[in-house]
Symmetry: C2
Subunit: 211 residues, 2 copies
């Protein structure tokens, strides 16, 4: 039975799961979640995931939430992206935790505030504050990638797929690839992976649908 990923194109957190699925060779299909009309707040969705978030992976009777755990499930099934040894696996989880704490959480929020909220609700102070925190995170990632092809070890891993979650999106949120040369090169390497697709090509739902 094919894996089902509850997701929408706009979610970088969902992309963190969709991208390794796409690259793994596993059979999967996206199930569109209508976030912008409140589906993640609905009773039916909360029954699937009480945390009220995408992505959710359904594999037979297993329901898996949190992109970091979904990535581990993909690794268990495919043997890919989990590192060459236990030490690399731990280091991958270190970066996934850091990404959840410092990078994706802030980037997703800032992009939402700048692009998906009605203009009258946008608050310049909140955006500037979040961008300041993000600049520190980009700095940590850029310094780490300087001289490295991938975040952990010699091959792409869940660490890469977590940290890149929001960095391919076209909507402005203060991140400019040109400002971070090592991140820029690394994103180009990810784009060249066989089977790579942009979030809006990999999952249903994009701002164009609501234009």
């Amino acid at each position: 039975m094919s894996l089902k990923l509850y997701c929408m194109g706009e979610s970088g957190n969902a992309y963190k799961a969709a991208l390794p699925l796409a690259l793994s060779g596993l059979e999967w299909e996206p199930v569109y979640v209508d976030f912008f009309n409140g589906e993640t707040r609905s009773k039916a969705f909360r029954k699937l995931n009480p945390m009220g978030e995408v992505p959710v992976l359904v594999d037979g009777d297993q329901v898996i939430t949190q992109s970091g755990l979904i990535q581990m499930h993909i690794t268990e099934k495919s043997g890919k992206f989990g590192g060459a040894n236990p030490s690399e696996a731990r280091d991958i989880l270190r970066w996934v935790l850091w990404d959840n704490h410092k990078l994706s959480s802030q980037a997703g929020m800032t992009r939402f505030l700048m692009n998906f909220l009605p203009a009258e609700k946008r608050n310049a102070d909140v955006i500037a504050f979040a961008q300041g925190r993000l600049a520190a995170a980009y700095g940590v990632l850029d310094a780490h990638l300087d001289g490295r092809d991938w975040i952990v070890g010699d091959t792409p891993s869940n660490a890469d797929f977590s940290c890149c979650g929001y960095l391919f999106y076209p909507e402005p949120f203060g991140f400019e690839r040109a400002d971070w040369p090592a991140i820029d090169s690394w994103l180009s390497r990810i784009e060249l992976l066989p089977g790579w697709r942009h979030p809006y090509d990999l999952m249903p739902g994009s701002p164009a649908d609501r234009a």
Copy 2:
């Protein structure tokens, strides 16, 4: 050789590591990091942890960062707090990831903004926005704990020690135990664990030192 935890009392992220250390029975000692005078930005500290964050656990020649990974290391060494089976272990990690994404990251930031920034730098809009996001997170946690003693399974685990990271601190950041009855009872259960200590009693450094 005793484990060394680089930390300071003010950090709920460090408390997430210090608390299971204290409850595990392992020998450990805190090493004070002078965050408020910029130590985490120093070259020496960045050599220890390029992410520039506490906590850092040093165990012989192993240096472990990210509270979620430090908790796993404590579990490996002590056999405690990691869940009764692989399914519980995954569920614990699910809550640790959620906490990093939605709870501690926001709570730590909001408490910092409201208490540790000079008054003239405090921004009411940023604080209100973060408090709104936090209320949603408290709601998810409170609903989950309603009818449960612990977040995962029948015993305290790293999920509990992660999610409670900022919730014992006295400085106001918009969290009131009385508003969330299930969280309140759960925090009381944690306080009753043999060996439990408040963050300011477990780690060096508190606002009182700078008063």
